[in-house]
């Protein structure tokens, strides 16, 4: 049917009032909600001793001094590849889970889902279950409706405030910030961030809800391309359920199926769809319709699983009475194995990088304007700007030296000749200007350039690092 007549371009939102449900998937979702929100709200309060000069917060994003602390790991800006690697792993992990089990991320762990679930639970606790909420929605405004709505929004705001609050605690010392927030002396950025996150949490979780998933989120579109007939997703065994009760299709040849058209699956759905219409773009595969239907099937004495996790080819095989594949056969296939291997390779790369991550480091920038300087006795000198990185929580004496086939002399600017030990402050990068000289008429001074290597040695634990560069001579002129 093609549209020829003028239909409205825009439609009003149909409000969704999910009914309370009990079952194994609901319990799993409660568990995941407690775990994920618990981790999110509590992590900033974990302490981790790193010595006197470094912060003692276990997880801290220190934007001012450009450091990221994660328990025993400390990431500097030049090690940002760790974050990039984690993002790649997150992406590959999402591909893997989507091709194996559909939109499990959406259904169980996506922050939008978790907070929406929390906001719906709050709403149910204050305004009552589905029928009460529908009545309240339709009721005229009176004192009771006003009281319930105000209570609901007040609780939502508290949740939103805690959410925004938890976010800012990741960026500075949490106990100090809490005191400052309460007595009004915290940085305006903290208040602004909290206000924005409070409002957006209430808006996303309380008001917009499923509309974020349906209209705003790009993931549902991308995920559709990663699912195939082997992907385990939520389906309705229509061969078993149809024709449903009250259906015109019920005849003597095809008696009523298991579906009694009780609408339990529709009433519990947080995105407001009927799963019996088949897999749909809106479905976040949260599994609540399975719980609802299993409950009904138990009550009418039919086997569970009229609505269940199943793959498209299972549904087809069952319909034809053929044996279905085992779960592991759905999960272990080239596609998921490729995703898993890629994920593991990146993961192992990061772990290796973490173990070989040095505590000291140097970068040498040769000053090439001019390329060399002639001193009064004919000595040829090159200048290098060396950045020394000390990742320890204390000042460390670093000794500089240079190795080369030619005879080269090293001097640190501002220090006596022969004193090549530089004290690098705790947890910082320190810039020193270093002079390297070759005596007049020696090979290094007359050659065009000579390979050389700078060494830095931590004189306390003998850690060392090096960087290769060149010494420029006159080139015979």
């Amino acid at each position: 049917m093609t549209s020829t007549d003028h239909k409205p371009l825009y439609a009003k939102r149909e409000p969704v009032f999910p009914r309370k449900v009990k079952g194994k998937f609901r319990s799993l979702k409660w568990g995941i909600m407690i775990l994920t929100l618990g981790v999110y709200y509590l992590t900033p309060w974990i302490r981790w001793d790193r010595g006197a000069e470094l912060p003692d917060q276990a997880v801290l994003v220190d934007l001012a001094s450009r450091r990221f602390f994660f328990f025993w790991i400390e990431i500097w800006p030049h090690e940002f590849y760790f974050i990039a690697g984690l993002l790649i792993m997150a992406g590959l992990g999402l591909f893997l889970f989507t091709s194996a089990m559909g939109r499990v991320w959406c259904g169980y762990t996506c922050p939008q889902t978790v907070w929406t679930d929390l906001f719906i639970a709050t709403e149910r606790w204050i305004e009552g279950d589905r029928n009460a909420r529908v009545r309240l929605w339709n009721a005229k405004w009176d004192l009771r409706k006003l009281r319930l709505r105000l209570t609901k929004f007040a609780v939502w705001l508290v949740i939103g405030l805690a959410t925004g609050g938890a976010w800012v605690f990741y960026f500075t010392d949490a106990p100090t910030l809490l005191v400052n927030l309460i007595n009004g002396t915290a940085h305006p950025a903290a208040y602004t961030t909290m206000a924005l996150l409070t409002v957006s949490t209430v808006f996303f979780g309380g008001i917009a809800r499923e509309q974020i998933c349906i209209y705003a989120c790009p993931w549902p579109r991308i995920q559709a391309a990663m699912m195939d007939e082997d992907t385990i997703t939520i389906g309705y065994r229509s061969w078993r359920g149809e024709p449903r009760k009250h259906s015109d299709a019920i005849t003597k040849e095809s008696p009523q199926g298991d579906c009694i058209d009780c609408m339990a699956c529709v009433n519990v759905c947080p995105v407001g769809i009927d799963i019996r219409d088949g897999q749909q773009m809106e479905c976040i595969t949260c599994g609540l319709c399975i719980d609802a239907c299993d409950d009904i099937m138990a009550k009418i004495g039919k086997p569970r699983g009229l609505i269940d996790y199943l793959s498209l080819d299972d549904e087809e095989a069952e319909r034809k009475g053929q044996p279905t594949k085992r779960v592991w056969q759905h999960i272990l296939r080239p596609r998921t194995l490729i995703y898993s291997s890629l994920w593991s390779i990146v993961g192992m790369g990061l772990v290796v990088a973490l173990f070989i991550q040095p505590d000291i480091d140097m970068t040498v920038a040769a000053v090439r304007n001019p390329t060399y300087v002639v001193l009064s006795d004919g000595t040829i000198r090159n200048v290098y700007e060396i950045r020394l990185r000390n990742k320890h929580g204390e000042t460390r004496p670093f000794e500089l030296s240079v190795t080369s086939d030619a005879a080269l002399q090293i001097d640190v600017q501002g220090q006596a000749s022969g004193d090549d030990v530089v004290n690098v402050p705790a947890d910082s990068t320190y810039l020193v200007r270093v002079f390297v000289s070759a005596a007049a008429q020696t090979p290094a001074s007359t050659d065009d350039r000579t390979a050389m290597r700078f060494w830095v040695v931590d004189t306390i634990n003998d850690d060392r690092a090096h960087d290769d560069t060149y010494f420029n001579g006159t080139g015979g002129t």
Binding site: L9, Y10, W239, G278, V373
Partner: protein, 295 residues
């Protein structure tokens, strides 16, 4: 497979790809309200901020915002935050700056900017000087008027052979050729002597003649051995560093015509508002001092 479908109750757009039809579901109503809201916002924005182009400029906007104003505020904020350390720098004992890590780092960075803006035109961005123009290299260890940090600050303050400042370093080499003090063959002999004391290829016989002439005419400033005299800015002629060049032709030109390199005075005393403040002079002196071979 019994495929329940929304197709029965929803229109399609009429587009079909590989048998897949596109449903024509309506957009949510609030979506269009968000669109209207952005229009209202845009109207408000164009009233509050500079927006509508006019013949000379644009509407100013009720909030009085301008990007130039924002930059001016930023600069004022940075100036205010630097005021304390600049005050410290202007009263600092120059030789003690090296011991104060914070002050030294600030002075080197500020001095680098001041050098780039005021000094690099002659001395070069890397401070290596320009030999063809007689602009000294500040990276080597040969200083005409002294290379400790106080001497550097003094030179920056008063300049060289600068008429404005009575205290400016001043010296004058006679133009031995142009003023007919020496004959051409005498100059040639002195050139050979200077080549010999600086360890270059030379004519030994001529140099022998030149050494006597050198003692009579040049040694009063450049010293008997040609090692120069910093107090009067007489260069060392025996080392490997040449202000204008150390080959025979250039040395002859120098003796013939003499040299008279000048440097302006940079302090506010002599340049008014465009001059460098005491703190800025101390900063640029610190910067030059740490470049290489200053004493």
């Amino acid at each position: 497979m019994n495929k329940p479908d929304k197709k029965d109750d929803v229109d399609t757009t009429g587009h079909v790809w590989d048998g897949i039809e596109e449903l024509d579901n309506p957009m949510p109503r609030w979506w269009v309200w968000v669109f209207y809201l952005t229009i209202i916002w845009a109207v408000g924005y164009s009233i509050a901020y500079p927006a509508w182009p006019l013949i000379n400029g644009a509407t100013a906007g009720l909030l009085g915002y301008s990007t130039r104003g924002e930059v001016a505020e930023d600069i004022a904020r940075v100036d205010a935050s630097n005021a304390e350390i600049l005050a410290r720098l202007s009263t600092a004992d120059l030789t003690a700056i090296r011991d104060d890590d914070e002050l030294h780092t600030f002075a080197v960075n500020a001095g680098g900017s001041i050098f780039a803006a005021n000094c690099s035109q002659c001395h070069g961005r890397g401070a290596a000087g320009v030999q063809a123009g007689g602009y000294p290299n500040l990276l080597d260890d040969d200083w005409l008027w002294g290379g400790d940090i106080e001497q550097i600050a003094y030179t920056v303050t008063h300049g060289i052979r600068n008429e404005q400042s009575m205290d400016s370093h001043y010296s004058l080499m006679p133009a031995f050729g142009t003023d007919e003090i020496l004959m051409n063959d005498e100059i040639d002999a002195i050139v050979q002597h200077v080549l010999s004391i600086s360890g270059q290829d030379h004519d030994a016989d001529l140099a022998g003649v030149g050494s006597t002439l050198f003692l009579d005419n040049c040694a009063s400033c450049h010293g008997d051995a040609g090692t120069g005299m910093q107090e009067i800015g007489a260069p060392n002629l025996s080392d490997a560093i040449w202000l204008y060049g150390g080959d025979a032709d250039t040395i002859r030109t120098t003796i013939q015509n003499a040299r008279f390199g000048v440097m302006p005075a940079w302090s506010e005393e002599f340049r008014g508002a465009s001059g460098l403040s005491l703190a800025e002079i101390n900063a640029v002196a610190t910067y030059v001092h740490q470049l290489g071979s200053a004493q």
